[in-house]
Structure formats: C-alpha cells, structure tokens
Symmetry: C3
Subunit: 225 residues, 3 copies
C-alpha cells in the first residue's frame, strides 16, 4: 500500500536536515522535561514527542504514511541519544540561557527547510509547501509545550511562526528560481534561525493587540527567566 | 499520488460553507488571542489554527490529503482577513457579549454541515459522515482552547457537540431521503446554530454528573462573564 | 478510494481487543469527566475522545482511513455504553482507588497489543509496529488528560509508555518467531498491565532527572490521593 510512496527520493540533504532537527528538538524536549521535574522516562517521552510531532504531522498531511519518524530507526535513535545527552549532562544544559528555547530555535530552522523540501518532493504547490515547512517547524514545540501545560511559544512569542515561514519560503522560492538546492537551504535555515535568535536575544517582538507599545524589556526579562 | 482524490467534485455550496466557517472560526481565534493578550502574530496564528484544525482533521480522516486548508489559498486569505478584522476593530469586537463563543457557534454550524457534505462526497457511510461533520465542527474550537490553556468549550459546556452532531445528521438524513441539498444544509446549519445559541443565551444545559439539579443561573453568569 | 485498504482482514482477536480497549478507555474518560465535574454530555464526549484518539492516530499513521472508530458503529456504541455505566453508577466508580488510572492501565494493555497487531497486518516493519502499538496505547490517555488540563500520565508517571512498548514488542516478537498469535497477545497484554499495575500499586518509578533518589512513598501517596 505504501510502497509506491516511498519511491519518492528525498536525497541526502533533506534527510540530514530532518535528522539534525530531530536531534535538537529532542534536546529541547528533554530540557523541558528536566525543567518540569519529570522522571527519566517522562523526559525521554517528551524528547521523542517534541522531536517527531512536527515531522509526523507533515508526513500525514502530504500522505507519506507511515511517517519517516516511525519507519526509519535513525529518528528514534537520534531522539534517544539527544535525551540521554540532556539527562547525563543536565547541569551543563541548565547553565545555558534558556536551553529549551535555544535548541527550539535551531530545530525550527532545520525543520522549516527540510519540511519545505519534503513537501516539494511530494509535488505539493508552492504555497502549501511553504505552509507545510512552517507547520513542520512549529509542530514539535507546540506539542511539547502543551504536554507540560505551558501556552505554546508560537502564541506567546516574539517572532516564531513567521521565522519558520520565511525560512520555508526561501527554499520554495529557490526551487522555483532554479537556485542550487544546498544554497537556498542554507539561506532559508540561516534566515529562520537569525530572525528567531534576534527575537530572543534582543527582545524583538510584535505589538500586543490593544496595547500602546511593545515592551522590549519585558520580553528580555522573560527570556532570561 | 493525490491527483485522483481531487477528482472528487464538492460543488460550490460545501466550499462556500467551508470558507464561511473558516472566516468565523478565525474571528473566534483572533478574539481569543486578544482576550489572552497575545501579540499580533500570536493572535493571527491562533486565528489560523482555530480556522483550519477542524477541516484538516476531517480531510486527514477521509484521506483527502493534502488538506484543502493547505492547498487552496482562499482558506489562508480568509483566515488572515478575519484576523485583521479583529485586530483592527478589537474594541468593537470586545463590546460584543462573549465574542469568542458567538463566532464559535456560527463556525460550529457551518463546519458541521460542510463536513458532513464532504464526507458524503468521499463515499463515507451515514454514521461516519455525521461523526465527521461533528468532528469538523468541534475540532477548531478544541485546538484553539487547548492552545490558550482553557478546558475546551466542548467539555465545559452546555449543548455543543450534540448541536454539531444534530446539524450534520440533518445533512446526512436529507441526502439519504433525497431532499434538495441546499434545503437540508440550511435546516442543519440553523438547527445547530439555534441549539447552541439558545444554550448560550438561555443557559440551557445538561445536568452535571453527581449533582442534584442543573443551575441555569450559574450557566448564564458564566456566559456573561 | 479506501476500498482496497479495508481488504486487510484483521481477524477476530485484534478487533475484540480493540473494542475491549475502547470500552475501558471510555470508562477512564467518563470517570475523569465525573472527577472534573463536567456535565453529562461533556463526560460522554471525554469518554468518546479517550476511547478513540489512540486508535484514530494509529489508523491515520498506517493509512487506514477513515479510521475504524468512525466507520464501525460498534466503537461508538461501546464508548457510549461505557459512558452510561460510569454516569449511572458513578458513586460505585468513585469508591474504587483511582478509577481513571485503573481503567487506563487495562486500556493501555489492550490497545498496545491490538495496535501492534493492526500495524503488522498493514505490513509495517517490526520497529514501527511496536512504536505504533505504544502510540495506540498512550494516545487516548494523553488526549483525555490534555482536555481536562492535566499534565498527561505518560509524562508524570511511573512506568507507562515503557509498559505499552514492552507489551507491543512481545506481539511483534511473537509474530516474528511464529508463536501462536493468541499466546503472544495474552503474554504482551499481561506484561503491559502487570508492569503498569505494579508501578501504580507499589510506587515503582524511575528517578527524576537531577534528584538523588526516587521517592516511592511520594508515588504511593499520589496514587491514593
């Protein structure tokens, strides 16, 4: 039933990006587990869920079932490895400034571009491909935050979904214009990560509906908390 | 891969209802964003998510992937338009009695009937078609409420899922009995909206398990709050 | 479109297990509804959602759409029956020690083995089949807990996802080794339920990341609360 679907050859680059995104999202999930005092297995489950939700939603939406995260053992291995890294060196991880958000920003960028690539490989049009890239990027963080009863970063935040959409759009545009795939991918991932990182570090944010003025100080405080 | 699936012709009516439901659910999402003091982009994301979750779940469950909400640019445009309306006129929106629930009731009715239509067009049986109509109706509100950390209306509430199921069932029955599609659709949507609206305004509700008597006053107070 | 997919014959045993799991997960959902003071219909919705989420996620991930929970009326009937049982005899149910978790443990075991069976019937490989069994088992409880704004058991807990994975793995191994299906199924379900039950009753748990020592007393207290 699913054999013909897997004839779609993604090439090495998107799979490597996808596995990289899986690794850092799993880091963010395990770090969120440590922050919320989950037990070892709960933190590993959160690592797995954060790492695979975005890609699984993308694969279901383009009809690539069973999703790569279930079929390809490397996704599971990479997630468990990331979980083990955080659990073994959690004191080092906790010394980072907001480790959950930092790993999340890297994963957002990698999944946004790999998601756009995979959607294009499944012959989805340019607008849906960009939206699917965005969804792949933001999906894991949404599920991770929901499970630990936090309002997801994508809603609270500073530039987030818009950064993922920008990164995915660069890949889609590059493909339409015939730019070499690796160049467009690098540009998209850097744009997404750069936007998100500056939003986090500099407190870049959009005005709250109904407020007079955005408070950059408040955002910075939240980020350091 | 997905080409044959799109050969299913839904006709103008279900698509118009679906876009209408998308618009009002996006209004409810943006209004919930304003209520929870999200920033502009967070409110737009919530508008998008509330508007597209129900239909995306329905499309995935009947195998219509990629879902219409991703493939057809009008869904995105209508959602962003609704978000912009709320953000520009939020003081007017906030003067409405409980705007989130009011828009939600309209969206519930429109999605329940359009969802039942789409399921029938994909040759799903009568019971699953009614259940899919209900799911399309309640899905967006559930995801919207989860994301802002509220217990979803469908659980807290007064008549809600049962109203969506009734509306969808009218469409399915009408199709089985050969009633003209537009008539059954109008009757189903009115029944669903009417039940939900009366439940909201009159405090109609079902007894709480374990309580002696339902408190209509309490429900009314909640609705006005 | 979906006709050929349903040519997959699951046999009597997995369907019976699936319906059994549906019944007990619906009991757990309705009991959670009573515990959180939902009204009658809210408790029934929670029963339905807890009973069908895990299986629907599994069916979507293996491409078995529309999912059995929508297509086969027995799933709906069994869920509503379980909801009615809890609502009619809720005082008896509340006299049980932690009824939500007890029913949840039985459902976890039944869905883990039926999920692994169904995945194997759809020609999924051994690792994804075991993971899909685990997902089928844990899915319903995650959605149930999210909807009533609790951190899901799978994250808070003692042995949970690992029990489901162990039960599903026994079914997959049994199938690979040619062990009679009913024997492997019984062994897998008993292993999963046994692990989970002992974790609940004896306070078996894994260490919290960053703590010196797991506190078995704390776990026992939580379970009795």
């Amino acid at each position: 039933m699913t054999v013909t679907r897997f004839a779609v050859d993604l090439g090495v680059l998107p799979v490597a990006l996808d596995l990289g995104g899986t690794f850092v999202f799993a880091l963010s999930g395990a770090a969120a587990g440590v922050k919320h005092r989950l037990d070892v297995f709960g933190a590993l489950v959160l690592a797995l869920v954060a790492a695979s939700s975005g890609g699984m939603v993308r694969d279901v939406l383009i009809g690539a079932v069973p999703p790569a995260a279930l079929v390809d053992w490397r996704y599971l291995a990479v997630s468990l490895l990331a979980g083990a890294v955080v659990l073994l060196w959690h004191s080092a991880v906790e010394r980072l400034r907001n480790p959950v958000q930092l790993f999340d920003a890297v994963g957002l960028a990698l999944f946004a571009v790999s998601g756009a690539h995979k959607a294009l490989a499944f012959h989805v049009g340019p607008l849906p491909a960009a939206l699917l890239g965005m969804l792949s990027g933001i999906g894991g963080g949404i599920v991770r935050d929901l499970l630990v009863a936090e309002v997801p970063t994508v809603l609270r935040a500073e530039i987030y979904a818009v950064a993922a959409l920008a990164g995915a759009a660069v890949v889609v545009l590059g493909s339409a214009l015939g730019v070499p795939s690796s160049l467009a991918t690098a540009a998209g991932a850097l744009l997404c990560f750069g936007l998100r990182f500056m939003a986090l570090r500099r407190g870049w944010r959009l005005p709250v509906a109904g407020e007079q003025e955005p408070s950059a100080d408040a955002a910075k405080t939240r980020w350091r908390a």
